[in-house]
């Protein structure tokens, strides 16, 4: 039976989060915790593939106990099982340590039910790195396919999948061996309004909860803060641009105005010219 696992994360809703003006860090209490929006699409894609090919959809997350709520959200979308790995030892993990911890969880899930496909969201909205997915693939030594916006086919027997990867000006069609890891774009699907039976199941759902000890052979030096070589040295909001002039009027007037500005500031114009390899002076 096809087994698809989605890796998910509970994140603060960065659309409404406030920054602490003194420390420049996110004030996590100022925003509700939600399922990372990209991950919702990862789960939905897994659920759609299950609808096409049969099988089972699991989700796994690392986080504090309240992350159960994010798992329930995945059950609402249609996931079958959820695994939460939670332990003080995981705290302070960067993407390297996170990918290690999730890999250990995936290995354990794999011993219970072999995994054919892992799907991640493109990135989290609180970290914006998009590194954890590929990090997991590297550790599991399976092909990572990022920026996936369509799964064309999945053939469990033949052990192949065909997907589209989004490029700047189009897409590429890639055939890969299974198991593999996909990280998906939001546009890959639309999440429908969950059914009432799924809502009821989610409301009552208790995920499998594992601590570090439950994961078996784990190198503790690779977990949490200890296993995280990246440090956030400083955080600051982007500086707001000052002054400036908004060009008004018709397109023609705006071009005229822009042209005269560029002519007035000859230095700028010369720089542009030089970079282009000598244009008009």
């Amino acid at each position: 039976m096809l087994h698809i696992v989605a890796c998910i994360k509970q994140v603060p809703d960065t659309k409404i989060i406030k920054m602490n003006p003194k420390t420049n860090t996110m004030d996590r209490s100022s925003a509700p915790a939600i399922l990372n929006p990209y991950d919702a699409h990862a789960v939905e894609e897994a659920v759609r593939l299950k609808a096409r090919y049969g099988g089972k959809v699991s989700v796994v997350t690392m986080g504090p106990p309240p992350a159960v709520k994010a798992i329930r959200k995945c059950i609402e979308i249609g996931a079958d099982e959820g695994y939460l790995i939670t332990d003080r030892a995981f705290a302070g993990a960067d993407t390297l340590a996170t990918s290690y911890s999730l890999t250990k969880a995936l290995e354990k899930i794999g011993t219970l039910h072999p995994i054919d496909l892992i799907i991640c969201g493109k990135m989290t909205i609180d970290g914006d790195t998009g590194q954890v997915g590929p990090g997991i693939a590297r550790r599991l030594d399976i092909p990572p396919l990022t920026s996936v916006n369509k799964v064309v086919e999945l053939e469990q027997e033949a052990g192949i999948a065909i997907v589209h990867r989004k490029l700047e000006d189009g897409y590429e069609v890639i055939q890969t061996s299974l198991p593999c890891l996909l990280s998906v774009e939001k546009e890959i699907n639309e999440i429908p309004y969950s059914t009432l039976p799924n809502m009821l199941r989610a409301a009552r759902y208790q995920p499998v909860v594992w601590s570090v000890d439950d994961l078996g052979d784990v190198d503790r030096t690779l977990l949490g803060l200890k296993g995280s070589p990246t440090i956030v040295a400083k955080v600051w909001p982007p500086e707001k641009p000052k002054g400036g002039e908004m060009l008004q009027g018709t397109s023609e007037e705006q071009v005229q105005r822009l042209f005269s500005i560029l002519m007035e500031r000859k230095t700028l114009f010369r720089d542009v010219g030089m970079r282009k390899g000598g244009g008009p002076q």
Binding site: P32, P192, S194, T195, L196, P197, M199, L200, A203
Partner: protein, 431 residues
Amino acid sequence: MAEKFDVIVVGAGPAGTACAYTLAKNNVSVLLLERGEYPGSKNVMGGVLYRKMMEDIIPGFYKEAPIERPIVEQRFMMLDKESAATFSYKGMEWGKEPYNNFTVLRAKFDQWFADKAVEQGAVLVNETVALACIVENGRVVGVRTDRPEGDIYANVVVLADGVNSLLAKSLGFHKEFKPDEVALAVMEVLKLDKRIIEDRFNLEGDQGCTIEIFGDSTKGILGTAWLYTNKDSLNIGVGTMLSGLIKHKLKPYELLEYVKTHPMIRPYLQGTDQQEYLAHLIPEGGYRSMPRIVGDGVLVVGDAAQLVNAIHREGSNMAMTSGVVAAETIIEAIAAGDFTEKTLDVYKRRLLDSFVGEDLKKYKDATHHFEKYPHYFEQYIPMLNRAASQMFTVDGTSKREKQRKIWQGIGTAGEKMKIARDLFQAWRVMK
């Protein structure tokens, strides 16, 4: 096959959650449906939660619930254009257990309360709108939600879906509100440093203060404004009967802006940042507007049953009590295996015999009386302010002379008689 519960409660506000909590605690299978993202996300009240009724449900709740401040002082301001006569009571007995009441922020409190119901075994489903009751052979047997495969069944459906109860309307229990049966309240939550709140309102530590503001705060329309202290924010709001707003062509947010900039109120709000803006309807028609609240397989609780005592700013406590009484009735009905209106009607009788019914009956004419005779707010409050000003201004006039002038200022003998009659009438509707 759609699932069946013993009970479906529609709406996770104080009434619905109190009902679900009580049922779950007694091992009744109960589904609690909430349309908001989470319980409390769409709920609004001025901000005062009374201890007694909540504690009947969860003893000592204030030790762990997200409350803002226990209230130790209640002020009542009679506001004129540039003056205010204020009466206040402050008592340290309210500052310690068992407390009298608290300010709460509903978005936090309702969520906590619903979590407690879930701990007892209630199944909470958020972001789901109940569209109508499913009726078979004249009996309510379930609820149709807006979700795919959204029908769900139960022996009893409890309608706790708030002031504008869609479901009670769908059953024909509710008629559309008349403008004199419903108040519109608008409110802002204003951020302010904890320390400044305590200095400004003369409070120590966690203590809180509430100010009810009558008179010019509603430009003479029947209603009140209020200013309550939270931990590190203030609630400022104003609520008036819809009919008054229509008659005076006033927009509620304009009225709130007027209150906020009033010279008697402005100083309290200095240096605050607006955090939230909320608006809600309050069913203030009282006893006479109470809809049908019992049917075959269905009970109506809380705002949906119009259980609000406008005179005493009470509502959430009545809601909770109604939820508990409904739950107790249902538990008996389950034991008897009978969910007909006849059996469930016990709910109505018990509710009307409780403080809820007693208070609603006591004030059944009050709102209507003050609505009908606006001079209480328009004339007598300014008169009181003038009298206080005259009495306390030291200008070399003898006190006896001042009293004489105040007495004269009230008007002719006929006018004095009218005031005496009005005060007697006011006493009668309030007694």
